[in-house]
Symmetry: C2
Subunit: 336 residues, 2 copies
């Protein structure tokens, strides 16, 4: 507290100009004579002046920060995107604030969290598909705050989405197996997931329909935990009296639990049963046998999310507010 923060005003007197001029140079305004610009730059240097973003935010009603909000339980997915989000925001000169929901159980988390976002006056928010996404979307809509959501399709004046085509992903793999006569297929999904379970199931159903077969959601969809300590025992028990042509999971870690549990029940993977995971994370590599997985471009999804969001914020021209990225199957040892 000894040396008070130096302000634009200090720079102005130091440089012998008005504070308006200083403001102009730090904002790169073109209309400043080179000579005075230099004087100001010098003063800034000498005083080690760092413009106060808060004050600027108040004056411009822009905070240049974007808020990302997600439930703790979705962390595994989100972390893979944060690199892309971080790099891109940094490049575009945005700050990013994280707001996590649930896990604490105090009152109504989502509303509470969104209230903080509102108060913070973040310029925009990035949401991730999850069980309560509709509620979250309703809230950002209510407060008209520009947002892009990852993994769930919405778009309007101030909203966009970054997606992979979950229905197609599911349809393609299932269709392929059914064609080979392998119709005993099961889909396992933890409750919280970045990719919409509903979409995957719909894709699967379509594949079955195409071949005049029906997919029985009651029996062919298994829900599980994101914790290996829970999912592995569950499947260890399950595979005592079950075996399928293919089990398809919406996240690699759960697929690993399936693979290990199957093997521990003397089911040969992939000869007797094949397994396909999703996201192509390190879990797929570490799994033995190594896991066939569907690669989803998470870094790019994060990067594009902030890019799209900034376009919305700047009211740039936008070709499409629903950008869908390509996935690719990474064949490894759990499939034939």
């Amino acid at each position: 507290m000894s040396k008070k923060n130096i302000t634009i005003y200090d720079v102005a007197t130091e440089a012998g100009v008005s504070l308006a001029t200083v403001s102009r140079v730090i904002n790169g305004s073109s209309v400043v004579k080179q000579e005075t610009r230099d004087k100001v730059m010098d003063a800034i240097q000498r005083l080690d002046f760092k413009p106060n973003q808060v004050a600027r935010g108040l004056a411009t009603s822009k905070t240049t920060t974007i808020a990302i909000v997600f439930p703790q339980s979705l962390f595994a997915h989100v972390k893979d995107m944060i690199s892309g989000i971080g790099d891109t925001s940094r490049r575009l000169d945005y700050n990013v604030s994280i707001y996590t929901t649930d896990e604490i159980g105090d009152g109504n988390p989502i509303e509470t969290v969104m209230e903080k976002v509102i108060k913070s006056r973040a310029d925009g928010v990035i949401l991730f598909n999850n069980e309560q996404i509709d509620e979250e979307i309703a809230l950002v809509k209510k407060y008209k705050i520009p947002t892009v959501v990852i993994g769930y399709c919405v778009s309007n004046e101030t909203m966009g989405s970054i997606l992979v085509d979950a229905k197609k992903i599911a349809f393609d793999v299932i269709d392929k197996y059914i064609k080979l006569g392998k119709t005993d297929i099961v889909f396992v999904s933890p409750r919280q997931n970045l990719i919409r379970t509903e979409d995957i199931v719909e894709g699967i159903e379509r594949a079955y329909q195409k071949h005049n077969l029906t997919f029985d959601k009651q029996k062919q969809v298994i829900s599980t935990s994101t914790h290996y300590e829970k999912s592995y025992p569950q499947f260890l028990d399950y595979f005592k009296n079950h075996k399928h042509d293919l089990v398809f999971t919406s996240y690699d870690k759960e697929a690993v639990a399936v693979v290990h549990a199957a093997i521990d029940n003397q089911i040969d993977v992939p000869d007797e049963m094949e397994v396909i995971g999703m996201m192509n994370t390190s879990y797929a590599l570490i799994c033995r046998p190594s896991l066939t997985s569907i690669h989803v471009p998470v870094y790019d999804m994060g990067a594009l999310a902030v890019r799209l969001l900034t376009k919305i914020l700047n009211e740039e021209d936008i070709e499409t507010k629903e950008v869908v990225l390509q996935h690719v199957l990474m064949p490894r040892k759990t499939t034939k």
Copy 2:
């Protein structure tokens, strides 16, 4: 833009009081008559007023946000702490902004990043031990910004640390093995790590010294990549003509690479060679055989980091600014 943001002034007129009074009630000042407080609350409700944090920040020179900065490469560790950081900041009513370094390679990342932190006027920052921690600490010191660093010991007026006793962790395991006559021990570490490699090595050295043996850093410390695609092949090659009593790694994922590579070279784990990892992540569970690992209380470290930081910010009494947490060995199948 149609309906302008409603401000404290609007609720003041709506409630028929002055804006100072409104300010008082939203800040929970005790000296407001219940009756007028009710009037104001009503108005706030009716207008759906959300106080502007930015304006408040400017007025109080407090942003109630803490910045966490780390290199992308440290993400695996940081993500495990963010739950603790998130929950605790939420409870204490702080926002958290993330600032990532490296990976982009534009100019001098750390200085650039810290400059953003300064401009944002975050109340405090949380740093994580990494290769450039000294530089980072120098910067926060220069700008006198309160900070707590995780995994690296510093403390002074405005700084504290959250730690585990890395030297002791290492000393204890190594001492135990040497006592059993198992002296052929190797330590593997990826370059970026939350736990200081230097400390671990020092702990190992002490254990050797205690038994009048010497630890050869050149040969007994192996550095590797955090990417399994890289570390596994490296060890697959390495174990063609190496075998040790124990290999100890500073992160589970690398231990998994070691275990798999050893097994693939017909080295029996744990009978011929034992392996111990660190952090006790899901990788340890998934590894086959399951990996013995040292559990580090990451959630608590995150939680305590923000708690300590807020104590520093509020100038509360602080017993100690270097809080060290307990670790615990989780024995599994890669040790006898």
